[in-house]
């Protein structure tokens, strides 16, 4: 029974019986795994205060040759991200991203780039380097790129007319096709969104722009709002399920 040691981010935890936890970990070396942390709820030494969602850990787990779940042997806390857990808005955003990753990843599928992206956005969120909304757009654009369902924001999905050549400032985006539609090709599409050229350009920047520059750029607020609404419709549509955290996030926004 091999023992594996790897950095990991805790995506989810659920109670199992009176004392145990089942944790879903996004590991650096082995992608997503679910493991059982025995006696985690009563342990004052091994797991005390460590197994909290979004925390970056160094974990050691033993895989089972039989059908059972891997068993978590040890976990050391590397980054607790305590400012995230002390802020309901940050917690809601981090929960949304964690749910997207958890829903999309298959068990045991190594995803180093996505791991690094998630750790980086959590770090920025914790340190207040960028507004939550901006970080969320940045995460979703790069998440889609890495996951293979990046939207076509360059040209019409039907006739391939470039976005710059489209006359109107507002351009239609087809959620089903996953791309832009020019004025001539709009008909027949039911699941549409309208985006301004400015929002589209800003979204394209978020996919590949420099993180360090993002902290200095003043993004247009209407474009951030429009981009956020668009991504929060497009990403869950292509994952096939709306994350629960997204409903929570919308409720929080209504409160403010």
């Amino acid at each position: 029974m091999p023992i594996i040691s790897t950095p990991a981010i805790l995506l989810r935890r659920i109670d199992y019986g009176d004392h145990d936890l089942i944790v879903t970990l996004f590991t650096f070396d082995g992608g997503k795994i679910s493991a059982i942390a025995k006696s985690a709820k009563k342990s004052t030494k091994r797991f005390s205060g460590v197994l909290e969602i979004f925390s970056v850990l160094n974990v050691v787990y033993r895989t089972s040759q039989r059908k059972g779940l891997p068993v978590l042997q040890a976990a050391a806390l590397k980054h607790p991200f305590q400012h995230i857990r002390g802020d309901i808005k940050k917690t809601a955003y981090a929960s949304y991203w964690a749910e997207l990753i958890n829903q999309w990843l298959e068990e045991g599928e190594k995803q180093v780039q996505l791991y690094l992206l998630f750790q980086q956005v959590l770090d920025k969120l914790d340190q207040d380097h960028l507004p939550e909304e901006t970080l969320s757009i940045l995460f979703q654009m790069r998440f889609m790129k890495l996951s293979g369902f990046y939207p076509n924001l360059e040209h019409c999905s039907v006739c391939r007319t470039g976005m710059e050549k489209m006359r109107k400032n507002r351009i239609t985006f087809d959620l089903v096709k996953g791309g832009l539609l020019c004025e001539k090709c709009i008909s027949g599409s039911l699941n549409k969104r309208s985006l301004s050229k400015g929002t589209i350009k800003q979204l394209r920047w978020f996919e590949s722009g420099d993180w360090t520059k993002a902290e200095r750029i003043r993004f247009s607020l209407p474009a951030i709002q429009e981009g956020q609404e668009f991504l929060e419709a497009f990403v869950p549509y292509h994952l096939g399920k709306e994350p629960r955290s997204l409903k929570f996030l919308r409720r929080l926004r209504n409160d403010q």
């Binding site: 989810r12 019986g17 009176d18 004052t44 030494k45 005390s48 205060g49 460590v50 909290e52 969602i53 979004f54 806390l77 607790p80 305590q82 995230i84 857990r85 002390g86 802020d87 309901i88 917690t91 809601a92 929960s95 949304y96 964690a98 749910e99 994350p243 629960r244 955290s245 409903k247 929570f248 996030l249 409720r251 409160d255």
Partner: protein
Amino acid sequence: MGYYPTPVVHLIQNISKLPGIGEKTAERLAIYLLGVPRKEAEQLAGSILEVKDKIRLCSRCFSLSDNPVCDICSNPTRNETLLCVVEQPMDMVAIEKSGSFLGVYHVLQGVLSPMAGVGPDHIRIRELISRIEEGTVKEVVIATGTDVEGEATASYLAERLRKRPIKVSRIASGIPMGGELQYVDQVTLKRAMEKRHDL
């Protein structure tokens, strides 16, 4: 299971529905119950029915009660200006056992959890706000857990109560009595160090 008579099978099935009890334990408990005197079995069955019939939530604090208003809320010696917010009735009992608090409580009946889909409308936050709006409460002590959900709930409540003319405090966290420093996580240690006190 097929080896037991049907009533025993039913008993095993019902016991195994209890949290943390698997089929093996349920089997052992069922065989034990078969061996106890009838009076003892009747007392157990009666107790279960009694709590189902008599126990309700206190209309003030939402803790468990056998009256419309619980003993703590109806006790005139408790300090009504000091309100402690907890997640569950068991948390309230834990604080009561410590003997350290003489105010009144508000049980949220849960905790905010974005991933579990538990939002502000699913727990007793609206009732807490209404209670504070009555004007008696001068300080709210938020005693939700220190896990992510508990901390996030505390943050949400603090934000909602920020503009009101009351003091809002958070229960302290630190090194447990008898705890060894080497096993304490760094978040707890940091907080314990920040909140150190003079001797």
